[in-house]
Amino acid sequence: MWSNTDLDWLHINYPDLERREDGVIEGRLSFQMLHINGRHLIKPSSTEVAAHVVNGIYLCDTYQIKITWYEGAHYPQVIECSSKILKVAKRFGIKPIDVHLYPNGTFCLASWQDLIKRFENSFSLEIFFYEYLIPFLFSQTYFSIHKKWPWGELNHGCWGLLEWLSRQKKFDQKDIRRTAFWAAQNAGPELTRKLFLTRCRDHKPCPCGSRRKTRECHPDITTAISLIRGAISRGAFSIDNLI
């Protein structure tokens, strides 16, 4: 659960968000963010905005949100109360999942492995806001204008989990194990066997069954699959453990 330090930080930085008696944080989150060369600048100064406006993306916006921390979770869940994101999905004729909302309306801020990895040892509301929540809302605002995500997205389901691992510059055995486990949970026994017992190659048909080549369908999954297959062959875990 959030600490007093978290709540003090929240009060100073986002006074429109308040902690209710039941522990839920609710209110308006107004953010200001500049995205430039793969970096985020939260609350950029006017000089920074002016300097990077040509080669960066600068956006401000406000969302009415509710942040709830369920017992036993490593990090809180966020929901939007004003349906701004859902309206964008409706306007573009796409499903809520395609604007990265779970069926219960909570935000898919990042892949599970990413969030767990960041917060398994300690939680900080500041990190949660600056690394996940505000960039997520920034990308929603950008999407509402351009109908594309400013720095890409992960595919849904097990494909996104595998993509996350493939796209990591640094990872450890724990990341491989977690990805394998959650991808298996998501894919089910049959697809898990197909994914991790067969060699996945760029020029071969994609394991998702689209009949397209993997490099044209889910190009970023091959690295993750080889890493997981390597771990299985080393005996780090078995397919039976996963399913």
Partner: protein, 336 residues
């Protein structure tokens, strides 16, 4: 301070400091009544004054004169010339008004008054009423084409005039007035927040002149859309959100013209050059950082001081803002 007190204080600030004063409204009414007399009651107010979003001091009043004698086959310049002749003659004999200058523009006639402590002028645009009605049952008009172009496009248009003579273009001035008026009846915070925002924009324009290219009417439409989407919104919420949304407004045109859905009121954003965008967003970022402090104001004095600071825009601004929080490695959103 609770939100209701905050909102009421902001509205009071706008009423007392930014709304046109009673004497000025009376002065404008007097001038308008005189003009109506000259034009046989065949004119109506348009622009921000008619939409109740003008700020103090009002420097100009936009009016439209639907000409009964002209048709769209007539050259707009000739229609302007005849309007100019009529008004020049009428004002030269006026027992009420002292005129500084009356001039013929390419699309209108401008009367500058010498009897106003602040500079004040009335712009009269000739128009032709169409039989087609808008959603409110009011007629559409055609106005001289050049009126709807920005300075740069006007210049280009003048150069092409010989090959393609300047004509008329469809417009819906009554539709914009009615929409703003209805919105104001629904939620008066629309008027207060639009005035506050437009005052800030005006100060930016005063400080930077033509280098500042963000349009007032574009900004007003952003407030209109905000209240349309957020019924019951407060002035506080609206001013923060609409100033914030300037960052989104420069990407692509978003506001279709009421009279022609193929045209955008904010079409000019496509032609903004990088230095113009830099200036608009620099001033937006400064204003936004001040406005974000409004919800946590603990006293009326603190709130008023923040509002004063917000609308005080100076060139070579040396406001010191803290460095940004830099976060690496953006996360890609996922969904199971």
């Amino acid at each position: 301070m609770n939100k209701q007190v905050l909102n009421e204080t902001i509205n009071k600030y706008v009423r007392e400091n930014l709304s046109p004063k009673t004497e000025q409204r009376e002065y404008i009414s007097k001038k308008y009544v005189e003009l109506q007399g000259f034009l046989s009651d065949n004119c109506f107010q348009t622009g921000s004054y008619a939409r109740f979003t003008a700020t103090d001091p009002v420097h100009d009043l936009d009016t439209i004169h639907p000409s009964k004698e002209s048709t769209i086959l007539d050259n707009p310049q000739i229609v302007v010339d005849s309007l100019y002749a009529l008004l020049e003659d009428a004002y030269s004999k006026s027992p009420i008004s002292k005129i500084k200058k009356i001039s013929r523009q390419t699309h209108s006639v401008t009367i500058e008054f010498a009897d106003c402590p602040e500079s004040f002028s009335i712009d009269v645009v000739p128009a032709i009423e169409l039989s087609e009605l808008n959603e409110y049952g009011d007629p559409f008009y055609v106005v001289p084409e050049i009126l709807r172009l920005n300075t740069y496009r006007r210049h280009i248009r003048y150069e092409n005039e010989k090959e393609n003579p300047i004509g008329w273009i469809k417009s819906d001035p009554r539709g914009y007035i009615k929409a703003a008026s209805d919105m104001n009846d629904q939620n008066p915070n629309f008027r207060y927040s639009a005035k506050l925002g437009k005052k800030w924009r005006h100060e930016c324009k005063m400080a930077y002149g033509d280098a500042y290219s963000f349009k007032s009417f574009h900004f007003e439409l952003m407030f209109y859309r905000y209240f349309d989407e957020n019924q019951g919104a407060t002035t506080l919420d609206a001013i923060i959100d609409c100033i914030g949304q300037i960052s989104q407004a420069l990407h692509i045109p978003q506001f279709q013209d009421r009279a022609d859905s193929n045209q955008y009121v904010d079409e000019y954003v496509r032609n903004l050059i990088s230095t113009e965008k830099q200036l608009i967003l620099k001033l937006q970022a400064e204003a936004y950082s001040i406005l974000q402090k409004l919800p946590s104001a603990e006293s009326v004095e603190e709130l008023l001081s923040l509002l004063d600071n917000f609308i005080k825009v100076e060139k070579q601004n040396t406001r010191i803002t803290p460095p940004a929080i830099v976060v690496n490695s953006p996360r890609q959103p996922w969904g199971y």
